[in-house]
């Protein structure tokens, strides 16, 4: 069963990327991804890390009328930071991996089952 681990970070966490502790920040993430890969649960090539929310552009159309907004969909405390897909037998195991993510403390991780292959 495949699950998306969807990572949310606070603005403080996002700003670590450009701070003096940037090395620590990126180190924690790559160690985490390596851990998933070493355990054989990571679905390779199915995830991505995202640039900061300020780099986003949001598009909406109402009755053909397009509006374009500078910034992410919603102005919330935690913002989408990236996602990976893992393959594990149950929600409990997915949650065990989610707990280990660097952003869980302070930010959040959403565990969402992936739709089955349509084949």
């Amino acid at each position: 069963m495949k699950y998306g681990l969807i990572f949310y970070e606070t603005s403080a966490q996002f700003s670590e990327r450009e701070s003096e502790s940037a090395g620590q920040y990126w180190g924690a993430w790559s160690a985490y991804i390596d851990q998933l890969d070493d355990a054989g649960v990571l679905v390779r090539g199915a995830g991505a890390g995202l640039q900061v929310p300020g780099s986003a552009t949001t598009l909406r159309a109402t009755a053909g009328e397009l509006t374009i907004q500078d910034g992410p969909v919603a102005d919330t405390k935690e913002q989408l930071a990236g996602l990976v897909v893992i393959n594990v037998p149950s929600l409990d195991e997915a949650m065990t991996w989610a707990k280990l993510a660097p952003c869980t403390e302070g930010g959040a991780v959403e565990v969402r089952p992936i739709l089955p292959d349509p084949s």
Binding site: M1, P89, S90, L91, D92, M95, V111, P113
Partner: protein
């Protein structure tokens, strides 16, 4: 008993077991529920005159066939392993494996990924087969809303693949109180009507599954104490203080005492251990006159500190009545606020009023108690009490 009444009775006892049986074999929750309903519907038509020798095994087999049928029709790929396993004729039909499967169903409902407020309704539905309509009043929610939320929870269990497994030790501890509470609820439901053997089996399994958790042992001890006295009150209602201890089951009392001692060795008291300790004190007092009601009242104080329910506070009042007299008991009673009519409250009020020699109030409360009695033997007890008050 008509055929449909018999099926009703078996439904009460077996619904959760049959469902757990399918889930333990890896079948989807929503389809399993459909299959269990279909099996009971089949029983209703097919069990005209005679029950099969083992109704539960019959229901399990029919439900299993049915769920495989449903999967064949709905799934593009039939899971071969589950089919092979289900068709295996050597598969044991040992009823002792049921408690463990049903225990897993209880733990499934307490999974932290399921909203806390829907966990109890979900347990009632999955384990006891109670419909959203019958529960809506209990949970103060319109039946349609409750029904939708139950379906949402079940879909989540299916889609997110929450498995009916016993959790790891740390989480087991966190989820244990809800499961203990549910088993106690199941015992209370069956106590007056049928043999509550299922709740007893579950409580025993939980002691084993939890590797002797003190509260699990406390609950099992409590149920054993209650069971030890059930024969005495089977036909007529007799208050505990007036029961003849020679009618109690000594073996159960002995087991309960041993469990309670083993639990106490952990030095981690909790609600169920305290309730069992109160039962133990009542039993000892009946045989030896010791411990005193003063000590029983103290145990109630400790219990109220961890579980300040109305029922526990009324137990405290009853013990205080014996320990410190009716004035002290009356003072405690005035602090209890009820949100709805409650038989034990009226019962304690009647006894306190009698001891205060307030016959008018005693009669009033005894009549309220009679009106609230749900079975004939309790009603008969209160009718006799009213007679005695009127013609002392």
């Amino acid at each position: 008993m008509t055929a449909s009444e018999r099926v009703d009775l078996i439904f009460r006892e077996s619904y959760g077991k049959v469902l757990a049986h399918l889930l333990a074999r890896g079948f989807d929750l929503l389809r399993s529920e459909d299959a269990v309903s279909a099996a009971f519907a089949a029983a209703l038509t097919l069990w005209n005159d005679a029950l099969p020798p083992n109704p539960e095994a019959w229901l399990c087999r029919v439900a299993l066939h049915r769920v495989i049928d449903i999967e064949r029709r709905e799934w593009r790929i039939t899971p071969l392993e589950s089919l092979a396993e289900a068709a295996d004729p050597t598969e044991p039909e040992d009823p002792t494996m049921f408690p463990d499967e049903r225990l897993r169903l209880f733990f499934l409902c307490t999974h932290p990924a399921i909203a806390p407020e829907i966990q109890t309704p979900l347990m009632l539905q999955l384990v006891l087969g109670i419909s959203a309509e019958s529960m809506s009043e209990l949970f103060l929610m319109p039946a349609a809303t409750l029904g939708q939320r139950l379906v949402r929870a079940k879909r989540k269990i299916r889609d997110a693949q929450i498995l009916p497994e016993l959790p790891n030790p740390e989480e087991f501890q966190q989820r244990l109180p809800s499961v203990l509470q549910a088993i106690y609820g199941l015992y209370s439901r069956d106590w007056g009507t049928t043999e509550p053997t299922e709740a007893m089996d579950l409580a025993r399994s939980l002691v084993i599954a939890s590797e002797g958790d003190p509260e699990a042992m406390g609950l099992f001890a409590l149920l054993l104490f209650c069971e030890s006295r059930r024969a005495v009150v089977r036909d007529v209602y007799v208050p505990l203080s007036q029961q003849d201890p020679s009618g109690w089951a000594p073996e159960m009392i002995k087991s309960a005492e041993q469990l309670l001692q083993a639990a106490a060795a952990h030095k981690s008291p909790g609600r169920f251990q305290l309730e069992a300790a109160i039962q133990s004190a009542h039993v000892q007092r009946a045989f030896t006159g010791l411990p005193s009601y003063v000590q029983i009242a103290r145990l109630y104080e400790a219990l109220i500190a961890v579980a300040p329910t109305t029922s526990n506070r009324l137990g405290h009042v009853a013990a205080t009545l014996e320990a410190n007299g009716p004035e002290a008991a009356h003072a405690l009673l005035t602090k209890i606020q009820l949100t709805e009519p409650y038989l034990p409250y009226e019962a304690v009020c009647a006894h306190v009023a009698l001891r205060l020699n307030d016959l008018e109030a005693a009669r009033k409360h005894a009549e309220a108690a009679r009106a609230l009695s749900k079975d004939t033997k309790t009603a008969a007890y209160w009718a006799e009490m009213i007679q005695t008050i009127q013609n002392p």
